[in-house]
């Protein structure tokens, strides 16, 4: 129960960060990705602010043996750079450049009551599903 409430608070903070920084606006993201146009470096500072916190704080957090509400840290196992990573990141980057939404902003923008985020959410989940059908089929 506690960890579910924590997840809700974490989600609220994450969404607030995307709204305050306007990263939930595709136009703001397009203006960052459009280097040759009227460039808006704001996204760089959003990443910088976020990574500044995580780089410092994650190091301190991982000094603990266990998280506060659960038995263990679930961290990604793989650290290798392979073709799947490169191709996946490329396809994601193309999609991101086409629509100006990455997954976080799609979800937060659902709360704006607009049509585009809703269509984007459905198509994005379809992308998850198709990937699963092709690559994650368990025997």
């Amino acid at each position: 129960m506690k960890h579910n409430i924590l997840a809700l608070i974490s989600g609220l903070l994450f969404g607030l960060g995307l709204c305050v920084s306007e990263m939930a606006s595709p136009t703001k993201v397009f203006n960052f990705l459009d280097i040759s146009g009227n460039w808006d470096p704001s996204l760089m500072l959003v990443m910088g602010g976020a990574v500044g916190v995580t780089m410092l704080a994650f190091r301190l957090v991982l000094k603990r043996q266990t998280p506060i509400f659960s038995a263990d840290f679930k961290l990604p196992g793989s650290s290798s750079v392979d073709n799947r990573l490169l191709l996946g990141a490329s396809l994601f980057g193309v999609g991101w450049g086409l629509i100006g939404y990455c997954p976080g902003p799609v979800i937060t923008a659902l709360g704006f009551g607009l049509t585009y985020p809703l269509f984007a959410m459905i198509a994005m989940i379809a992308g998850f599903m198709v990937h699963r059908l092709i690559f994650e089929r368990n025997p």
């Binding site: 609220l12 607030l16 595709p26 509400f69 980057g93 999609g95 991101w96 709360g111 585009y116 990937h131």
Partner: protein, 141 residues
């Protein structure tokens, strides 16, 4: 650069970093949005509710900000519905294939100084730059 908003960008970024730190410190989980969302559909029952709560929190923030705060978010006028659907599909497919998005690789992975995440972030940013260049300046938006 008249659209540059350094203060709100930095504040927003710090909030996102704090969100990821809370999730790791208390729940031991990475705040990777594409992984959290896709896991709602595929993870075992006991591993679903916290994911849903995180997503609900994100949507609530959007609604509160839009309707009770400064708001002002609109549909993008430069994207057609067809491009939106194709692009969002690629975002979904690509983030699963690459094992993360802007939050999982960008915010959290770089926070761990993971080579894999640093490479992924450079690749999706480069692909985003090229795509927007082509859409805005080759096809003329």
């Amino acid at each position: 650069m008249e659209n540059f908003t350094p203060v709100s960008a930095l504040i927003g970024g710090v909030l996102i970093g704090l969100s990821a730190t809370l999730l790791l410190l208390f729940n031991g989980r990475i705040a990777g949005v594409s992984g959290i969302l896709s896991g709602i559909f595929v993870q075992p029952a006991g591993d679903r509710l916290w994911r849903l709560m995180f997503v609900v929190g994100m949507i609530m923030s959007g609604a509160l900000y839009q309707f009770f705060g400064p708001g002002g978010f609109e549909n993008s006028t430069e994207v057609s519905l067809l491009v939106l659907v194709i692009g969002a599909f690629l975002v979904g497919f690509g983030t699963r294939m690459g094992g993360g998005c802007t939050s999982g690789h960008g915010v959290c992975g770089i926070g761990f100084i993971s080579l894999r995440s640093i490479v992924a972030t450079c690749v999706f940013m480069a692909a985003g730059f090229v795509t927007v260049y082509v859409m805005r300046h080759v096809f003329g938006g």
